[in-house]
């Protein structure tokens, strides 16, 4: 299902990141805007019907006021968001391929109480990626029973 929301991910070396995301996670570059020097101004990548934006670190008071865009590689591995990618099938194969190609796996494929099988990995600059495959169609009541947690649909 296509989403109206696109995560935009910032890298110190966006060109290396595009190539890494293609080789390791199987993304495809669908749009690449370069500047005079050939460096990446803005890029879009697709994976199934999902899409991300990717770009370099940027920001200045003039361009972006108090905000600043940086890679986790510039922040000792800290990040302000994670990306979740929905896989239709073969999550374990995706993980094996990513690990063989150089991804750091921080959580091995594992069934979760909410009906998904999930693995987590870090990309080349330390962004956290969570790959998720639905394995059971559960109601919120099923999830509560399985986890012992309180799950609501409002605050």
């Amino acid at each position: 299902m296509p989403s109206p929301i696109t995560p935009v991910v910032f890298y110190r070396d966006p060109k290396a990141a595009l190539s890494w995301l293609e080789q390791v996670f199987g993304f495809e570059t669908s749009m690449l805007v370069t500047d005079e020097s050939g460096s990446v101004g803005h890029a879009e990548m697709s994976f199934g019907d999902g899409r991300i934006g990717a770009g370099g670190e940027w920001g200045s008071t003039e361009l972006l006021g108090p905000a600043l865009m940086k890679s986790p590689a510039s922040l000792g591995g800290q990040g302000t968001q994670i990306i979740r990618v929905e896989l239709a099938s073969a999550l374990d194969d995706h993980c094996a391929r990513a690990e063989a190609a150089g991804a750091v796996i921080t959580q091995r494929p594992q069934d979760q109480f909410y009906g998904s099988r999930v693995y987590r990995a870090l990309d080349l600059e330390g962004h956290v990626w969570c790959f998720d495959q639905k394995i059971a169609d559960l109601s919120l009541a099923d999830m509560e029973r399985a986890s012992g947690l309180t799950i609501k649909t409002s605050l």
Partner: protein, 152 residues
């Protein structure tokens, strides 16, 4: 009730105060809360919000890798970009009325969109855009004065 289908890509957004964030995102941007998982102490462990077919997760700073921009002097490692079908100016007014910090007011962009950019109360950067003119990559390249292509 079973979950609605999930989109291919979604973002987990980290907050110091997820409870306040859920309320603010509902009011400012028109998100709908669809799931709140509470810890035993009543704090929020995990939550989901929907915006049309879009989905985000709102969570806390649960380990040293996950930080709110409020604890990083306004630095973001990712931002969120929304495609609205219409009403980008009205959406902007609503966000500002709720206290969004304006980074860029709504303006027409060379690539055929009208868009705006704001910060939420903890410093996450959000942009909202509406297509006003369908353009090919060649037309964008000409209008922007820089090469645009569909591969690395």
């Amino acid at each position: 009730m079973s979950e609605s289908p999930r989109p291919g890509m979604s973002s987990g957004v980290v907050y110091r105060d997820p409870h306040a964030a859920l309320k603010w995102l509902e009011k400012a941007f028109g998100f709908e809360i669809t799931m709140v998982v509470e810890n035993e102490d009543g704090s929020i462990g995990h939550s989901e919000m929907r915006f049309g077919d879009g989905l985000i997760y709102v969570g806390r700073e649960w380990d040293e890798r996950h930080r709110s921009p409020a604890n990083l002097d306004g630095v973001n490692t990712q931002s969120l970009h929304f495609n609205l079908t219409d009403g980008v100016d009205a959406h902007f007014e609503r966000a500002v009325a709720a206290g969004a910090i304006v980074l860029r007011e709504p303006a027409d962009q060379f690539y055929g969109d009208r868009s705006y950019m704001v910060m939420d109360p903890e410093g996450h950067v959000w942009s909202f855009s509406q297509a006003i003119k369908a353009m090919t990559f060649d037309e964008m390249a000409k209008a922007g004065g820089r090469p645009v292509r569909d591969h690395l």
